[in-house]
């Protein structure tokens, strides 16, 4: 009886708390940044601080969304897959805020300065490319778009997320002045995710060729 009546506040289905919890958790640092900005406790250079923190959040959440499938592969758990979309969209939101902070606040929408940055500074160009690649993924994140594209095509399109993450890590590497520890950590995480997916691919190939016996 309890199961059949609509649950209070939470959506129906298993683990109804999971996605709302992930969405709220993802919003926490954004709210914290906004509150520190309003209270003037974002440090002496709040624009640079907000830029750095929003960019880092975008990268971390994108990597987290990419970690869902490998995590399922390694553990057999299915719950990570349910959080993937929320994590990816949260990462995209922070990437958008990061870009808006750069364009509207840091550069005060000085289009000439922005164009010059894009043309002459690889790290800005790489970051911008990463953002552009995220847009089609965010747009096609709804179930309706998935149906319209068909699963196979949708899946191929969403592999772009890996490219975005690579560009995001490069963007971070090019930005730091001297100490590359932090970007190296995220680069290593990304490499580990690639390694899991590669291992799965190799295993599948081997299984297929074993079944087919003569590969032609």
């Amino acid at each position: 009886m309890a199961a059949s009546s609509p649950p209070l506040l939470f959506p129906a289905g298993p683990l109804p708390w999971l996605v709302p919890g992930v969405v709220t958790g993802c919003a926490v640092p954004g709210v914290a940044i906004a509150s520190r900005l309003l209270r003037g406790t974002l440090g002496a250079n709040p624009v640079a601080e907000a830029l750095n923190e929003l960019g880092l959040l975008a990268l971390v959440l994108l990597l987290a969304s990419l970690a869902c499938t490998p995590l399922k592969t390694l553990t057999g758990w299915t719950w990570p897959i349910r959080t993937r979309k929320a994590l990816g969209l949260a990462g995209f939101s922070y990437a958008t805020l990061h870009l808006l902070t750069y364009a509207l606040v840091d550069q005060a929408l000085d289009l000439r300065a922005i164009a010059k940055d894009l043309a002459t500074r690889p790290f800005i160009l790489v970051g911008f490319a990463a953002f552009l690649l995220l847009v089609p993924l965010a747009v096609t994140s709804t179930p309706r778009m998935l149906k319209r594209l068909g699963f196979a095509r949708w899946k191929r399109l969403h592999r772009l997320a890996y490219l975005t993450a690579v560009l995001g890590v490069i963007h971070f590497f090019l930005r730091v002045k001297k100490d590359v520890t932090e970007p190296a950590v995220y680069g290593a995480v990304l490499a580990a995710l690639f390694a899991v997916r590669l291992a799965v691919l190799v295993k599948e190939r081997l299984a297929r060729s074993a079944r087919g016996r003569s590969p032609g």
């Binding site: 919890g21 709220t24 958790g25 640092p29 440090g43 002496a44 690889p122 001297k178």
Partner: protein, 329 residues
């Protein structure tokens, strides 16, 4: 014997279905709260926000610095609003005390500015080791308000206390072979724990051409805002060269060496394509990764144009006549 309380009326008893849902709701709510708290907390931890909120200095608890008597030097005072003391002392690049902007202020407690010895060596009349207080006794500190332009495209206006380097150079009597002056920061990982990590080659070294060193604008600073330098600003003695990027202003100096050859400066040798030996503020020569045409004055949101030689061109441009400042950046 205790008596059982009276049973509630049947109407007040929660129906079984609702009761079950209540438990389910509480469980869901608890798991929801746990998930969002764990994820939110984890993300805040990655941002290092606890560090930022911990920063005691912002609450006005920077250890009180002793006052220093100084006379104002109106000739060397720019008429621009001062950057607040809290910003000047909590937003620092001093890798020896940590890599973030707030770390130096948090970690400065390990640096002991007294007793302090300055070693003088190289092409000089007499190589010697000087107690800092002896050296400071020779000069009367003055207050000068300078612009400070960091190579990272932010800037401040700081009321320094100090004396012209020229006065010290004159007193030390370098030989005619001395073409440059090199400065070295204290090397002591106990006082400067950032030196435990090989981010840069320690100790930090900076240098000036002799004519730059004896230019009247070049200052050896012992304080700011009427008080002794806090550790994060380079206590007890630092260099201030207002027409050059901030990294030329070497902190916590223990050695002054006069040389015939151009000294190997730390950032310059670490990334020669990005940080030149001269490092004159120049809006026309960009850093390879960012523009130097504009800067953000700390405390302001909008960028402002960067001035050639940080606005000191009238005083110093002559030093570089005939030089290609694009090549010798």
């Amino acid at each position: 014997m205790s008596r059982l309380p009276k049973e509630p009326p049947a109407a007040a008893i929660t129906p079984e279905g609702l009761y079950l849902r209540r438990r389910e709701f509480i469980k869901n709510a608890a798991l929801f709260a746990g998930t969002s708290a764990a994820l939110g907390g984890g993300l805040l931890g990655l941002l290092g926000s606890p560090r930022a909120t911990k920063k005691a200095p912002a609450d006005g608890t920077i250890p009180a610095q002793p006052r220093i008597e100084a006379s104002p030097a109106p000739l060397y005072t720019v008429d621009e609003p001062l950057t607040p003391y809290d910003s000047v002392t909590t937003y620092n690049n001093f890798y020896e005390l940590g890599l973030s902007k707030s770390a130096p202020a948090e970690n400065a407690g390990t640096l002991r500015p007294r007793p302090w010895t300055i070693t003088v060596e190289g092409e000089v009349k007499q190589e010697q080791r000087l107690d800092l207080d002896t050296l400071l006794g020779w000069f009367k500190p003055e207050e000068r308000v300078y612009r400070m332009r960091c190579v990272e495209a932010w800037s401040m206006v700081i009321p320094w206390l100090g004396f012209p380097l020229a006065a010290l150079v004159k007193r030390l009597e370098p030989t005619s072979r001395a073409k440059y002056v090199a400065f070295t920061t204290l090397r002591d990982p106990e006082q400067l724990p950032g030196q435990n990590r090989d981010v840069l080659e320690w100790p930090y070294v900076e240098g000036l051409r002799m004519d730059e060193a004896v230019h009247p604008l070049t200052l050896l600073a012992v304080g700011l805002y009427g008080k002794a330098l806090p550790g994060q600003n380079g206590a007890p003695l630092r260099l201030v060269v207002p027409w050059k990027y901030g990294f030329k202003g070497i902190k916590s100096i223990v050695k002054i060496r006069f040389t015939e050859q151009q000294p190997k400066a730390t950032w310059n040798s670490s990334a020669p394509g990005e940080y030149g030996f001269y490092a004159n503020v120049n809006p026309a020569v960009d850093h390879p990764r960012w523009s130097q045409a504009t800067e953000r004055r700390i405390g302001e949101i909008r960028r402002r144009p960067t001035l050639p030689f940080n606005g000191y061109a009238d005083a110093v441009a002559d030093l570089y006549t005939g030089m290609d400042l694009r090549r010798s950046f």
